[in-house]
Subunit: 171 residues, 2 copies
Protein backbone atom coordinates (compact mmCIF):
# COMPACT_ATOMS: atom_id res chain seq x y z
CA UNK A 1 0.00 0.00 0.00
CA UNK A 2 1.19 3.51 -0.69
CA UNK A 3 1.52 5.86 2.28
CA UNK A 4 2.49 9.49 2.66
CA UNK A 5 2.81 12.10 5.41
CA UNK A 6 1.32 15.58 5.19
CA UNK A 7 0.48 18.63 7.23
CA UNK A 8 -3.00 20.01 6.60
CA UNK A 9 -3.13 23.78 7.08
CA UNK A 10 -5.97 25.46 8.97
CA UNK A 11 -9.33 25.85 7.28
CA UNK A 12 -8.49 29.47 6.44
CA UNK A 13 -5.38 28.51 4.50
CA UNK A 14 -7.00 25.46 2.92
CA UNK A 15 -9.91 27.59 1.69
CA UNK A 16 -7.49 30.12 0.22
CA UNK A 17 -5.49 27.39 -1.55
CA UNK A 18 -8.65 25.71 -2.83
CA UNK A 19 -9.83 28.92 -4.49
CA UNK A 20 -6.88 28.44 -6.90
CA UNK A 21 -6.70 24.63 -6.90
CA UNK A 22 -10.29 24.43 -8.07
CA UNK A 23 -9.27 25.93 -11.39
CA UNK A 24 -5.66 24.90 -11.77
CA UNK A 25 -4.96 21.66 -9.92
CA UNK A 26 -6.22 18.32 -11.30
CA UNK A 27 -5.49 16.81 -7.86
CA UNK A 28 -8.09 19.14 -6.32
CA UNK A 29 -10.48 16.27 -5.69
CA UNK A 30 -7.91 13.73 -4.52
CA UNK A 31 -6.69 15.38 -1.33
CA UNK A 32 -7.31 18.64 0.57
CA UNK A 33 -4.61 21.35 0.37
CA UNK A 34 -1.52 20.14 2.19
CA UNK A 35 2.21 20.42 2.84
CA UNK A 36 3.83 17.12 1.81
CA UNK A 37 6.27 16.19 4.56
CA UNK A 38 7.16 12.77 3.17
CA UNK A 39 6.58 11.66 -0.40
CA UNK A 40 4.60 8.49 -1.16
CA UNK A 41 6.34 5.32 0.04
CA UNK A 42 5.41 1.65 -0.09
CA UNK A 43 4.77 -0.21 3.15
CA UNK A 44 2.57 -3.07 4.29
CA UNK A 45 0.05 -2.72 7.08
CA UNK A 46 2.03 -4.81 9.56
CA UNK A 47 5.08 -2.65 9.10
CA UNK A 48 2.97 0.49 9.47
CA UNK A 49 1.46 -0.69 12.74
CA UNK A 50 4.48 -2.33 14.32
CA UNK A 51 7.29 -0.08 13.21
CA UNK A 52 6.33 3.12 11.45
CA UNK A 53 3.49 4.42 13.64
CA UNK A 54 5.50 4.01 16.88
CA UNK A 55 8.37 5.87 15.26
CA UNK A 56 6.07 8.66 14.03
CA UNK A 57 4.57 8.94 17.54
CA UNK A 58 8.02 9.38 18.97
CA UNK A 59 8.88 12.07 16.43
CA UNK A 60 5.59 13.89 17.13
CA UNK A 61 6.20 13.73 20.89
CA UNK A 62 9.65 15.23 20.47
CA UNK A 63 8.52 18.03 18.17
CA UNK A 64 6.99 21.20 19.57
CA UNK A 65 4.10 22.87 17.70
CA UNK A 66 5.31 25.69 15.47
CA UNK A 67 3.97 28.34 13.15
CA UNK A 68 4.72 29.39 9.60
CA UNK A 69 3.88 32.23 7.27
CA UNK A 70 2.71 32.29 3.66
CA UNK A 71 3.49 35.49 1.79
CA UNK A 72 3.80 34.64 -1.88
CA UNK A 73 3.38 32.27 -4.76
CA UNK A 74 6.33 30.48 -6.32
CA UNK A 75 6.95 27.73 -8.87
CA UNK A 76 9.17 24.70 -9.50
CA UNK A 77 9.58 25.82 -13.11
CA UNK A 78 11.52 24.85 -15.21
CA UNK A 79 11.74 21.42 -13.47
CA UNK A 80 7.96 21.08 -13.35
CA UNK A 81 5.29 23.70 -13.91
CA UNK A 82 3.85 23.25 -10.42
CA UNK A 83 2.79 26.52 -8.79
CA UNK A 84 2.53 26.76 -5.03
CA UNK A 85 1.96 28.89 -1.97
CA UNK A 86 5.44 29.21 -0.59
CA UNK A 87 5.69 28.14 3.05
CA UNK A 88 8.18 30.55 4.53
CA UNK A 89 11.12 28.33 5.51
CA UNK A 90 11.55 27.83 9.24
CA UNK A 91 14.02 25.74 11.21
CA UNK A 92 11.13 23.82 12.72
CA UNK A 93 9.64 22.55 9.48
CA UNK A 94 13.05 21.53 8.13
CA UNK A 95 13.84 19.74 11.37
CA UNK A 96 10.54 17.85 11.22
CA UNK A 97 11.16 16.91 7.59
CA UNK A 98 14.63 15.68 8.53
CA UNK A 99 13.25 13.50 11.33
CA UNK A 100 10.65 12.02 8.99
CA UNK A 101 13.49 10.80 6.77
CA UNK A 102 15.73 9.45 9.51
CA UNK A 103 16.09 6.25 11.53
CA UNK A 104 14.40 3.21 10.09
CA UNK A 105 11.61 5.09 8.32
CA UNK A 106 11.25 4.00 4.69
CA UNK A 107 11.40 6.32 1.71
CA UNK A 108 14.28 8.31 0.34
CA UNK A 109 14.68 12.04 0.18
CA UNK A 110 15.34 12.50 -3.48
CA UNK A 111 15.69 16.27 -3.51
CA UNK A 112 15.97 19.26 -1.24
CA UNK A 113 12.85 19.91 0.83
CA UNK A 114 10.92 23.00 -0.29
CA UNK A 115 7.90 23.35 2.00
CA UNK A 116 4.92 24.34 -0.13
CA UNK A 117 1.19 24.08 -0.72
CA UNK A 118 0.52 23.21 -4.36
CA UNK A 119 -2.18 25.31 -6.02
CA UNK A 120 -1.61 24.49 -9.71
CA UNK A 121 0.03 21.62 -11.58
CA UNK A 122 0.09 19.76 -14.90
CA UNK A 123 -0.71 22.95 -16.81
CA UNK A 124 0.13 23.33 -20.49
CA UNK A 125 3.14 25.56 -21.08
CA UNK A 126 1.09 28.49 -22.38
CA UNK A 127 -1.41 28.21 -19.58
CA UNK A 128 1.42 27.97 -17.05
CA UNK A 129 2.95 31.23 -18.23
CA UNK A 130 -0.38 33.05 -18.02
CA UNK A 131 -1.41 31.61 -14.68
CA UNK A 132 1.98 31.98 -13.02
CA UNK A 133 2.26 35.48 -14.45
CA UNK A 134 -0.84 36.57 -12.60
CA UNK A 135 -0.51 34.45 -9.46
CA UNK A 136 3.08 35.51 -8.88
CA UNK A 137 1.85 39.11 -8.46
CA UNK A 138 -0.23 38.14 -5.44
CA UNK A 139 0.83 39.01 -1.93
CA UNK A 140 -0.42 37.04 1.06
CA UNK A 141 -0.13 37.57 4.77
CA UNK A 142 -1.19 34.24 6.20
CA UNK A 143 0.03 32.93 9.55
CA UNK A 144 -0.71 29.36 10.46
CA UNK A 145 0.05 26.97 13.30
CA UNK A 146 1.15 23.35 12.96
CA UNK A 147 0.22 21.15 15.87
CA UNK A 148 -0.11 17.80 14.06
CA UNK A 149 0.78 15.81 11.00
CA UNK A 150 -1.11 12.98 9.35
CA UNK A 151 -0.29 9.61 7.90
CA UNK A 152 -2.34 8.90 4.78
CA UNK A 153 -2.76 6.02 2.36
CA UNK A 154 -3.71 6.13 -1.28
CA UNK A 155 -6.84 4.53 -2.70
CA UNK A 156 -7.03 2.93 -6.15
CA UNK A 157 -8.65 6.05 -7.60
CA UNK A 158 -5.64 8.13 -6.53
CA UNK A 159 -7.39 9.83 -3.61
CA UNK A 160 -5.75 9.91 -0.18
CA UNK A 161 -7.44 8.75 3.02
CA UNK A 162 -6.15 9.79 6.45
CA UNK A 163 -5.04 6.81 8.53
CA UNK A 164 -3.69 8.45 11.66
CA UNK A 165 -3.15 11.86 13.26
CA UNK A 166 -0.02 12.67 15.25
CA UNK A 167 -0.19 15.61 17.65
CA UNK A 168 3.04 17.50 18.17
CA UNK A 169 4.51 17.95 21.63
CA UNK A 170 2.86 14.92 23.18
CA UNK A 171 -0.41 15.38 24.97
Amino acid sequence: MKYGIAIFPSKKVQDEANSYRKRYDPHYALIPPHITMKEAFEADEDEIESKIIPELKKIADETEPFSYGVYKVSSFSPVTNTIYLKVDPSEEIFALNEKLHSGSLPGDKDYAFVPHITIAQKLYDDEFSDVFGSLSMLKFDLQDNVDRFQLLYQLENGAWSVYETFRLGGE
Copy 2:
Protein backbone atom coordinates in the same frame (compact mmCIF):
# COMPACT_ATOMS: atom_id res chain seq x y z
CA MET B 1 -17.06 25.63 11.72
CA LYS B 2 -18.88 22.50 10.69
CA TYR B 3 -17.61 19.20 12.09
CA GLY B 4 -18.62 15.58 11.63
CA ILE B 5 -17.51 12.13 12.78
CA ALA B 6 -16.95 9.20 10.45
CA ILE B 7 -15.44 5.76 10.23
CA PHE B 8 -13.32 5.19 7.14
CA PRO B 9 -13.42 1.55 6.03
CA SER B 10 -10.27 -0.32 4.99
CA LYS B 11 -8.76 0.39 1.59
CA LYS B 12 -10.39 -2.75 0.20
CA VAL B 13 -13.90 -1.56 1.11
CA GLN B 14 -13.19 2.04 0.12
CA ASP B 15 -11.98 0.92 -3.30
CA GLU B 16 -15.11 -1.20 -3.76
CA ALA B 17 -17.38 1.69 -2.77
CA ASN B 18 -15.50 4.12 -4.99
CA SER B 19 -16.04 1.94 -8.05
CA TYR B 20 -19.74 2.88 -7.75
CA ARG B 21 -19.39 6.36 -6.24
CA LYS B 22 -17.29 7.47 -9.18
CA ARG B 23 -20.33 7.16 -11.42
CA TYR B 24 -23.23 7.76 -9.08
CA ASP B 25 -22.20 9.96 -6.18
CA PRO B 26 -21.62 13.70 -6.70
CA HIS B 27 -19.86 13.75 -3.29
CA TYR B 28 -17.23 11.38 -4.68
CA ALA B 29 -14.59 14.12 -4.67
CA LEU B 30 -15.52 15.69 -1.34
CA ILE B 31 -14.72 12.83 1.04
CA PRO B 32 -13.50 9.22 0.79
CA PRO B 33 -16.08 6.44 1.32
CA HIS B 34 -17.20 6.48 4.95
CA ILE B 35 -19.74 5.50 7.58
CA THR B 36 -21.19 8.69 9.07
CA MET B 37 -21.26 8.22 12.83
CA LYS B 38 -22.36 11.76 13.66
CA GLU B 39 -23.96 14.17 11.21
CA ALA B 40 -22.47 17.62 10.63
CA PHE B 41 -22.68 19.88 13.70
CA GLU B 42 -21.54 23.42 14.38
CA ALA B 43 -18.79 24.04 16.91
CA ASP B 44 -16.01 26.55 17.42
CA GLU B 45 -12.39 25.53 17.67
CA ASP B 46 -12.11 26.29 21.39
CA GLU B 47 -15.05 24.08 22.16
CA ILE B 48 -13.61 21.33 19.96
CA GLU B 49 -10.27 21.41 21.75
CA SER B 50 -11.42 21.96 25.31
CA LYS B 51 -14.59 19.92 25.45
CA ILE B 52 -15.34 17.73 22.45
CA ILE B 53 -11.96 16.12 21.76
CA PRO B 54 -11.46 15.05 25.39
CA GLU B 55 -14.94 13.54 25.36
CA LEU B 56 -14.28 11.71 22.07
CA LYS B 57 -11.00 10.38 23.48
CA LYS B 58 -12.84 9.00 26.46
CA ILE B 59 -15.43 7.34 24.23
CA ALA B 60 -12.70 5.83 22.04
CA ASP B 61 -10.82 4.52 25.07
CA GLU B 62 -13.94 2.84 26.37
CA THR B 63 -14.87 1.25 23.04
CA GLU B 64 -13.23 -1.98 21.91
CA PRO B 65 -12.37 -2.45 18.21
CA PHE B 66 -15.06 -4.39 16.38
CA SER B 67 -15.80 -5.80 12.96
CA TYR B 68 -18.71 -5.58 10.57
CA GLY B 69 -19.87 -7.23 7.38
CA VAL B 70 -21.20 -5.81 4.11
CA TYR B 71 -23.38 -8.18 2.13
CA LYS B 72 -25.78 -6.10 0.07
CA VAL B 73 -26.91 -2.79 -1.32
CA SER B 74 -29.92 -0.95 0.06
CA SER B 75 -31.62 2.42 -0.33
CA PHE B 76 -33.33 5.15 1.70
CA SER B 77 -36.02 5.40 -0.97
CA PRO B 78 -38.67 6.79 -0.90
CA VAL B 79 -37.30 9.27 1.70
CA THR B 80 -34.27 10.04 -0.41
CA ASN B 81 -32.87 8.22 -3.41
CA THR B 82 -29.55 7.53 -1.68
CA ILE B 83 -28.16 4.05 -2.40
CA TYR B 84 -25.67 2.50 -0.01
CA LEU B 85 -23.64 -0.52 0.98
CA LYS B 86 -25.53 -1.78 3.98
CA VAL B 87 -23.33 -2.16 7.05
CA ASP B 88 -24.68 -5.26 8.73
CA PRO B 89 -26.07 -3.95 12.04
CA SER B 90 -24.05 -4.90 15.09
CA GLU B 91 -24.46 -4.04 18.76
CA GLU B 92 -21.03 -2.43 18.72
CA ILE B 93 -21.70 0.12 16.00
CA PHE B 94 -25.04 1.10 17.53
CA ALA B 95 -23.42 1.46 20.94
CA LEU B 96 -20.72 3.70 19.50
CA ASN B 97 -23.30 5.81 17.68
CA GLU B 98 -25.24 6.13 20.92
CA LYS B 99 -22.17 7.29 22.84
CA LEU B 100 -21.39 9.86 20.13
CA HIS B 101 -24.80 11.42 20.79
CA SER B 102 -24.66 11.37 24.58
CA GLY B 103 -23.28 13.53 27.37
CA SER B 104 -22.45 17.07 26.43
CA LEU B 105 -21.63 16.36 22.79
CA PRO B 106 -23.45 18.75 20.44
CA GLY B 107 -25.70 17.69 17.60
CA ASP B 108 -29.05 15.97 17.67
CA LYS B 109 -29.95 12.54 16.45
CA ASP B 110 -32.78 13.36 14.15
CA TYR B 111 -33.58 9.85 12.97
CA ALA B 112 -32.78 6.22 13.63
CA PHE B 113 -29.18 5.28 12.91
CA VAL B 114 -28.77 3.11 9.82
CA PRO B 115 -25.06 2.35 9.43
CA HIS B 116 -24.19 2.61 5.75
CA ILE B 117 -21.63 3.57 3.13
CA THR B 118 -23.23 5.79 0.50
CA ILE B 119 -22.43 4.81 -3.10
CA ALA B 120 -25.05 6.83 -5.00
CA GLN B 121 -27.08 9.95 -4.24
CA LYS B 122 -28.92 12.87 -5.83
CA LEU B 123 -29.91 10.76 -8.82
CA TYR B 124 -32.89 11.64 -11.00
CA ASP B 125 -35.88 9.39 -10.38
CA ASP B 126 -35.49 7.44 -13.63
CA GLU B 127 -31.79 7.01 -13.10
CA PHE B 128 -32.39 5.92 -9.53
CA SER B 129 -34.74 3.16 -10.60
CA ASP B 130 -32.26 1.85 -13.16
CA VAL B 131 -29.21 2.09 -10.94
CA PHE B 132 -30.88 0.67 -7.85
CA GLY B 133 -32.45 -2.04 -9.96
CA SER B 134 -29.05 -3.33 -10.97
CA LEU B 135 -27.07 -2.57 -7.79
CA SER B 136 -29.65 -4.25 -5.56
CA MET B 137 -28.91 -7.53 -7.36
CA LEU B 138 -25.30 -7.48 -6.18
CA LYS B 139 -24.07 -9.71 -3.40
CA PHE B 140 -21.01 -8.82 -1.36
CA ASP B 141 -19.02 -10.71 1.21
CA LEU B 142 -16.87 -8.01 2.78
CA GLN B 143 -15.57 -8.21 6.35
CA ASP B 144 -13.97 -5.16 7.84
CA ASN B 145 -12.49 -4.08 11.15
CA VAL B 146 -13.08 -0.78 12.91
CA ASP B 147 -10.26 0.32 15.18
CA ARG B 148 -10.68 4.10 14.95
CA PHE B 149 -13.00 6.94 14.08
CA GLN B 150 -12.17 10.39 12.80
CA LEU B 151 -13.23 13.94 13.53
CA LEU B 152 -13.48 16.00 10.34
CA TYR B 153 -14.27 19.58 9.46
CA GLN B 154 -15.78 20.95 6.30
CA LEU B 155 -14.02 23.36 3.96
CA GLU B 156 -15.79 26.12 2.04
CA ASN B 157 -15.85 23.99 -1.12
CA GLY B 158 -17.80 21.28 0.72
CA ALA B 159 -14.84 18.89 1.05
CA TRP B 160 -14.02 17.34 4.42
CA SER B 161 -10.58 17.46 6.03
CA VAL B 162 -9.61 15.07 8.85
CA TYR B 163 -8.80 16.91 12.08
CA GLU B 164 -8.12 14.08 14.49
CA THR B 165 -8.02 10.28 14.69
CA PHE B 166 -9.35 8.39 17.71
CA ARG B 167 -8.12 4.83 18.21
CA LEU B 168 -10.55 2.47 19.86
CA GLY B 169 -9.62 0.60 23.03
CA GLY B 170 -6.96 3.05 24.16
CA GLU B 171 -3.38 2.39 23.25
